[in-house]
Symmetry: C2
Subunit: 649 residues, 2 copies
């Protein structure tokens, strides 16, 4: 509007255009190094830099010098506690993964040592995880039958572990840790719940003492395979299982109510293993349909580099499995590490953790260990036991080593049903229905994601559930951009603030002026939508004004405060809107275009088309200018007054 | 902050929570009916509603009554002009699609009539399009060799057309037109350019008079198949082709410079066909290696419902082809229709257009026509020829009908090389390198999309190029959400406006207060990133303050104006940030949370945690409050003054 006599008090600045390469590099830095990990390296001497670098990649060098005896005492207690959990859990999860029980023990020996050296979390307790074990048995079980060709199956499991490690560490090195962020909290809740349900169903095999069982994990086939062989059910093992399950759940509830008695919960699994074994040994129940672990061979992890089956026809499956379990393990481990770090107010670098996890699994896969991560249950016990540093992992590893060297025979009579009940007890804790309810209350969409992940896992398969959940969550983000909301702004009474009338019903509109706010970047995906929506706002407002007989519309103000980015389609959309308003005899006015938007508007000469004097720093100034134009003669003074009064955002 | 004596002037409103179903339905309406198509139906009588409904779906009923003789005269001229373009183009593109030339003529007869009845554009000239023809030959050619089994090939092409029609019209009925929007302008530019290049390469077959030619479309195999048979090149046809090509390009350039002579450009193809045919007839060039169309059978479109090969083993390919060409055709047709409607200031409904296109192709597939759309070139000619309504399409159809009934024999001697040069001349116009340069200047990312589409099409295949481009453009949108920018805000001199210091270098920061602005919705994908980025902002600021010896940081203000949406991960991220700042002895203050955000903050009790008195309507008020706290005693009056002065956004 040719407001020669209305000078704009705060012109909108057009930032200088950075050279392309500079902006590119800064963009990459923001994307890959948001936490600026090398900050401490700045202006240091070369030797200091070297030491810092070493400490950066090998955290133990950083904290070991400051390690005290008080720490050590605490760590020993914590270490022994988690060891008593690690041994039975290790055996159980190996069982769940259809791997020889001994592999589970191996997996609690080497990886914790590696993590103690490379890991940056002080509370994380390393060990095998149920979901990954389940994934291994379900994904690899499709290709190779663990009962018919156990050797090859184990090789594939180790290979998958190797690739999981490679994938994890390369994610870390490439600073691509944010990929894990794409597993939203809702996804993980639903996914974990589903996986836990599936694992519990799988355990019915052990509880009912069935010998033949489906290798599929979905509800239907599990149910079929259970009820197709009702005559095979063994009441002895059933009864035994229920007793131990009851015992375990009881102890957990007790410890939950009295945190100082955490150790009861921690010791429970080992206790039930001992009790169960003794019981079987005395009653010779193994002869009455109670299956037992049987012989476990003594000795430490045998090397298994030669076992990695790179030549196997199922290599692709191994790689796919490795990548999936790798991501899942990372998601759990990193999340667990972060949350406990939050408790104790120290920071852990996600990418560094990934490197640690990766190295731990690569080393593991070469020493007959399968995939390990930082399981929540064990870490929580470790935390409650008052661990101070990763030394607790070393203590645990030592305890497991002693078990491997001397105590394995004791597990000969351990009944599988006890292991099943240990798993079930652990899994029931993972079905977090309260979280699901919370999601429903707070964010319906997150709830949909969560529940579809759950259903996908239970009805379909673990991968299906995961993929569905991720796709839905991505669709939500796309939908946000593809269908941005536009708000009608009004004036907050006795102020010059302009806000959405939906949120502030008291806000009243400015006669002759339509103020709209767009809520998202303008991209190709929403340009057409926004064009149509804006023109609809305009004619609806015009209809309203005609019906109420108010003064006709003169100006359309677009508040661009929330438009963070724009592409070429967006710019041409703005041009069309401008043409459109001109045709309707309206004037388009822009308020507070952000740096990227104004830059592109300049490059495309759009500023020239709409006119520099139609761009204001705030909606308030824009409205003041419009009012000034609307009734210059009478209210010149008024606007100027408003004007002095309206210096603020 | 316990500011008992500092009353907040403009409290932040928490909008009432809508019932779930209500918000769901309104959300769906916004997504699927942004343009509110049934607005005119409101408060009308039933009979009127019926008529309006009929007119809505059959636009001809709307404009036919108002049709005048003046319109008719204009439409006849335009119709004849485009017919003279339609006949040779029809034959050429059919040739390109490896279909019998007569099918090309058929396709310019029925579909235009259908569109004239159902279409809502006044300028669109219906006809076959090069890219779709190319896609048919490349995608179906892989399955069935058009030379060995022409009948089956034609059947598949018709089936693909049928499914394209079904897909298009169902998109329209389901109001899913926005799917087309996901083909951004950049994608289409690159894709069209690439396709045009590929088409030109294909024409070298005709120009060089080769008999055997590859069915693949990628650069490498085309080049190989050309240079592997250099001995087969026929200089006669080569020379002929170059002459006509030169002639066509010349005429186009001339008409471009003098728009009043558009008809020269429009007539050129027909002229060259006539010239070419006469030349061949006189010189008997067909005996010297100049291939001719040969016999075209007289008569109108035979019905072809029985030809639709639903039982074919290649049905899936036909369906896939149908969907892809359907989308491409829509993208071009709708875009063309929209842009010409923009010229003449009338509105066309994308979804209605899709139904029209779909119906036209379904009808076409039952009357031996293959895929048609609204090609840009023909529509532009129609527009220049001064068409007034879709009647020009009817006129064109009539002209084509006459050709089919009486004139087909005349095309017996038409040399293929002329058709090739017609195609090349048309295609060269589609390689829009200027647009690509413009993209590079304005938006590097769009340029990348464009160029990767181009390269994908030329090196790989048409589908590959398309998929790559779409994926990259989607990634850009995801990246925007996954890596939102955060800005440091400063105070614009002699005002109380706060803006990004990057954009407004004059803006200076407030002592003791750090003001940050986040640029995108807070979702699971960026929650972790934002947490790390914000804490980095804080310690960087603290380091800076220490180095410069300024007063230490007391408050962190988050400007949430640009945060349009938030999910549960986002809320818990805010909670973590709050904990984090508390730990550092800082106070977190929020400015202008939007309705959805404040709603969720309330539901999750976060407002209680941070304190109602830490949420302000504007950054200005937040800063005023912080200053008030910072030096209550001395500057109580000051802040109150600032306060009166700072009523505005």
């Amino acid at each position: 509007m040719g407001n020669a006599d209305f000078e704009c008090p705060h012109p909108v600045a057009i930032p200088p255009t950075k050279p392309f390469l500079k902006s590119l590099t800064s963009g990459l830095k923001e994307t890959l190094f948001p936490d600026d990990p090398f900050r401490q390296f700045k202006n240091q001497s070369a030797s200091r830099k070297f030491i810092l670098g070493l400490q950066y990649f090998v955290p133990i060098l950083e904290w070991a010098p400051r390690y005290t005896f008080a720490f050590f005492r605490a760590d020993v207690i914590a270490g022994i506690t988690i060891a008593s959990l690690a041994v039975p859990q290790g055996i159980s999860y190996a069982n769940l993964a259809n791997l020889p029980p001994i592999v589970g023990l191996y997996s609690s020996f080497v990886p914790p040592l590696v993590y103690a050296i490379l890991g940056s979390s002080r509370d994380l307790a390393v060990g095998t995880v149920a979901v990954a074990s389940l994934l291994i048995s379900s994904m690899l079980g499709k290709e190779v039958n663990p009962n018919e060709d156990p050797k090859h199956y184990v090789q594939l499991a180790l290979t998958a572990t190797f690739f999981a490690g490679v994938f994890q560490s390369s994610l870390g090195f490439l600073r691509l840790g944010f990929i894990v962020d794409f597993l939203s909290h809702a996804t993980i809740v639903g996914f974990m719940g589903g996986a836990a349900t599936v694992v519990c169903l799988q355990q019915l095999k052990g509880i009912l003492g069935l010998i033949h069982f489906t290798h599929r994990t979905d509800l239907v086939s599990v149910m079929r395979s259970i009820f197709s062989q009702t005559h095979q059910w063994r009441w002895e093992s059933g009864a035994l299982g229920c007793c131990f399950l009851f015992f375990l759940i009881l102890t957990r509830h007790y410890s939950k109510r009295k945190p100082c008695f955490f150790w009861i919960n921690a010791m429970a699994p080992l206790t039930s293993v001992v009790l169960g074994s003794v019981l079987v040994y005395l009653t010779h129940a193994e002869k009455h349909g109670v299956q037992v672990i049987g012989h476990l061979k003594k000795g430490l992890n045998p090397p298994s580099i030669s076992e990695l089956a790179f030549g196997s026809p199922h290599l692709m499956t191994a790689i796919r499995t490795g990548i999936i379990i790798g991501v899942i393990a990372l998601a759990e481990g990193v999340a667990v590490g972060r949350s406990f770090a939050m408790f104790k107010n120290y920071h852990i670098d996600g990418n560094k953790e990934m490197i640690a996890f990766g190295m731990m699994n690569i080393a593991g896969s070469c020493t007959s260990c399968y995939l390990t991560s930082g399981p929540f249950s064990r870490t929580a016990v470790n935390f409650n036991a008052g661990c101070k540093t990763a030394v607790s992992n070393i203590v645990m590893a030592t305890a497991v080593m002693i078990t491997l060297l001397f105590l394995t025979p004791l597990f000969h009579y351990t009944p599988l049903v006890v292991l099943s009940s240990i798993i079930i007890a652990a899994m029931l804790g993972l079905i977090d229905y309260e979280a699901a309810i919370h999601l429903w209350k707070v964010d319906k969409f997150d709830f949909v994601v969560c529940i579809s992940a759950y259903i996908g896992v239970v009805i379909g398969s673990v991968e299906i559930g995961l993929v569905i959940a991720v796709i839905i969550s991505l669709l939500r983000m796309l939908l946000f951009v593809a269908r941005p909301r536009t708000f009608l702004l009004g004036n907050i009474p006795n102020s010059m603030i302009y806000r959405s009338v939906d949120q502030y019903p008291t806000a009243n509109n400015v006669p002759g002026v339509l103020i709209l706010q767009i809520d998202a970047p303008i991209y190709f995906a929403n340009a057409n939508y926004l064009r149509e929506r804006i023109s609809r706002w305009i004619y609806e407002e015009q209809d309203r004004l005609i019906s109420t007989g108010e003064p006709t519309l003169q100006y359309v103000i677009l508040d661009m405060s929330a438009i963070g980015s724009i592409d070429t389609s967006g710019i041409s959309m703005l041009e069309e809107v401008n043409k459109n308003t001109d045709r309707r005899g309206l004037k388009l006015v822009l308020a507070n275009p952000r740096s990227e938007v104004i830059k592109k508007m300049e490059k495309t000469k759009f500023i020239g088309k709409i006119g520099q004097e139609c761009i204001y720093l705030t909606v308030g100034e824009a409205v003041a200018a419009c009012n000034f134009m609307l009734h210059t003669c009478k209210s010149n003074r008024v606007t100027v007054q408003e004007f002095d009064a309206q210096d603020n955002v």
